[in-house]
């Protein structure tokens, strides 16, 4: 039997009402309701996003364990998902995330120039956070905005066809 065709459910007797807040639980439950009951774990990605947003933009081991407990899935499967996707952060981040796409189209259209610019002007290399904790710079795999490369995702908003000067304007208005 493959764990791809059948969910590896870990039944837990733990009291789930102590996990997260009422609002988050309600939001997670709405996601769970989109899938067949035995495939509760399909809701892992939106759940991680909800939990990460509520925790100031990053996840911790304890939060991932709580997600696993809430969705009755092995903790390892949650770690795998959270460590695979670029939008989850496992280390503390700044107040904002500046994600520069560095896949082929953006690279050809100057994304490396953007990264170098941020490094020089703000002293922040990819993966680092500015000293004032304002933003974290991330080098991202394809944002799917090749048509208007280079693209940068700031928090949850796409910005396209950027130049270093245009990026500066965006970063400067971050609080």
């Amino acid at each position: 039997m493959s764990f791809r065709t059948a969910p590896l459910t870990v039944a837990r007797d733990a009291d789930k009402s102590s996990l997260f807040t009422d609002d988050i639980r309600a939001a997670i439950d709405r996601e769970i309701a989109k899938y067949p009951p035995e495939w509760k774990q399909s809701a892992v990605m939106p759940t991680l996003t909800l939990v990460q947003d509520a925790n100031g933009g990053s996840l911790t081991r304890e939060l991932m364990d709580a997600v696993a407990a809430y969705l009755d899935m092995p903790a390892m499967s949650v770690y795998e998902v959270a460590s695979f996707y670029g939008m989850y952060d496992l280390e503390p981040v700044g107040r904002h995330k500046v994600c520069v796409c560095n896949s082929i189209s953006c690279m050809l259209n100057g994304s490396e120039e953007l990264i170098d610019h941020v490094r020089e002007r703000y002293g922040v290399a990819p993966g680092e956070t500015s000293e004032d904790g304002r933003f974290t710079l991330k080098e991202f795999e394809c944002l799917g905005a090749c048509k208007d490369a280079p693209a940068v995702l700031i928090d949850k908003v796409y910005h396209e066809c950027l130049t270093p000067a245009a990026l500066d304007k965006l970063i400067d208005v971050l609080d």
Binding site: M1, A11, R61, A75, M76, Y79, S83
Partner: protein
Amino acid sequence: MSDKITLEIDGRSCKAALGEMIIAVADREGIAIPRFCYHPKLSVAANCRMCLVEAEQGGRPFPKPVPACATPVADGMKVQTRSHKALEAQRGTMEFLLINHPLDCPICDQGGECELQDVSMGYGEDISRFSERKRVVQDEDLGPLIATEMTRCIHCTRCVRFGAEIAGVRELGATGRGEEMRIGTFTAQTVQHELSGNIIDLCPVGALTSKPYRFSARAWELTERDSISPHDSVGANLQLHVRRNQVLRVHPRPNEAVNETWISDRDRFSYQGLNAAERLDQPMVKRNGVWHDIDWTSALKLAADGLRAVEGDTIGCLVSPRATLEEQFLLQKLLRALGSGHIDSRLRQQDFRGDASDPQRPWLGVSIAELEQQKALVLIGSDLRAEQPLLAHRIRKAALAGAQVSVFNYFNVELTHPHQSFTAPPGCLLVELAALAAALELRGSSDAVRELIGLAKPEDAHHALAQQLRAARNDGNGLILLGALAEADPDYTLIKALAEAIAIGSGVRLGYLPSAANSTGAALAGALPHRAPAGEVLETPGLNAREMLTSPRRAYLLWDIDPAADVLDPALAQVALSDAQLVVACSSFRTPALEQHAHLLLPISAFAETSGTFVNAEGRWQGFQGAVAPPGEARPGWKLLRVLGNLLELEGFAYDSARELRTELETLCANSSFDNSARALRPALKVPDIDQQLMRVGQVPIYASDMLTRHAAALQHTPLGESIAVHLHPEQAGELGFAHGERVSIRQGDATATATVVITDSVPKGCARIPAAVPGSETLGAQIGPVALTKARG
């Protein structure tokens, strides 16, 4: 044959079933296709891409090479595994796989038996075109059994799939992405599943290797010897890897009917005990409290004279249920020829009131492979994963295929599949069982069973289970199994009576989970007080294991047991032994208790050092040969008994070979079939007082099961190597006023010990789980029995 299709692989016409993958058909036909991630026992991942082949269907070639492991066969398909296109694809894959592989074969333990090495000899290039930096992966400590070198990992994910699909615990995973991907536990934990050692065999490269074996030999220096595991009642088929008369490691030998391709970690790593410093390698005698080495001639003469000097009836013999069939047979012959019927191998049983009515030759009730087909399984008194790791795996397979598994036990056991637990302390568990009987509307054949059923208040869960059992009856796929903990219960006979009533009433089968490698064989060898060889019933039985200690004998013969650990009640055993006039201990190890209580120590061979036979739970006779010579002066047990028999001038000890002995046993047992139905009505029994008296439940942890395992250092250092502690329910601890981690003294009659309190809700109220056979438990009483706990002083 209508569901068979025909395809062509490398010009050879092959028959296959629909849905089979190309690689499975090629394997059957003996056509070699290179692979890393494919494994017949695991799901198809198709992520290594090594098995790419060229295929065409209906004259139309597939546009690209296809992975043979993930491409189902079709009628008329033509497959080329060695065409230019296929070889080109395989070579390309090989080049990519080697890009990040360190190629450190000279210092790698897998060197010489490495799938990557073999395949790269066939498909790799002499030089690498890759001039960039190779990736380096930080290592992780997976515990004392498995050594890691994760830089060598090629991400086949066999170990990950093993955890998810076979073990049922996702301990390892693939975290990160692309170049950052790595296999590990993520949280730096020790891998602790009892089958986890199998990932060493599964790993096609040197990323996961055996830690105890690490850097000790090269594969080509080892000789392979077949053997059988001496631990649980599966009798896993083993291959011992031997160099210069030393077992260096143990591998599984595939046998679908017994162990498939797996073995438990206990089977794999217990060989370490063979080389332990505590091995007894010299006959020894105690004079004035001091042990002296003596030669075999004097030792055997002392033993013979000593046994001759006492009356036959005053000799008692406690024999390990892990002794070979031949040893058990000769021992009972010796004892009975000396005029004593007092021989027993049921060392962990205290209630023998059922002896007269017990089945003649009890067994598992079904074959091991048939366990998988059960639809409803009821386990009574069993810490299944610790007692029978490989049977637990079969039961897991049944559960995943939809079987309903229910567990009646004294504490919650952690199983890796859905199951229902009925947990109650000893005594109350009888009522739980009776509730099931009541739900089945059984009336009971004896007063005790009727009384219990009268006490029971069946709940919804009991009714549901009754329903499941009735449903399973229709296709004959229901089974009730009695485990090793039930055997230690003070009311084992009542448990058996209830289980029999439930089995008969619901129409399902009843089986026993024999605790050790040769527990089933003991009935055939006659190593029981109420059974002669071939399992013939003795109308005037000798004293059983308990009676031999409660009405002490003047002389004892101990066969490969430690009286402080291998018996139900170590305190009682040690008192009886200390008063005896003569204690002859034939043992492969020296232990403090043996040194204290024995007068003569005779060194016998351990597992791997003798030839013999084990009869496993399903009644399968599995013979094996010695792979190495015993250390020092130690001798195979059957030879020692032969000489002792001749010295005592007893009839029937003139054997020239172990083969001769085995042939005699085979002839004797030719008509001895197994059967689990009670021979007679169960005796009239008193229902125990089911009050809230605190009861000890002492399960034997997986790595405390026998002397060999207890001396295997690596196993003892795993998280499953339990030590003594008092596990209590939070409410129970509250009532007694104990905090977590507090030292308490344990009292069972005159027997005492101290241990730390562990508060857990896996134990019900009224029950104190205090493991047996672990350091610190030597001075305690019966595994299951009343216990008093008080705060330790000082």
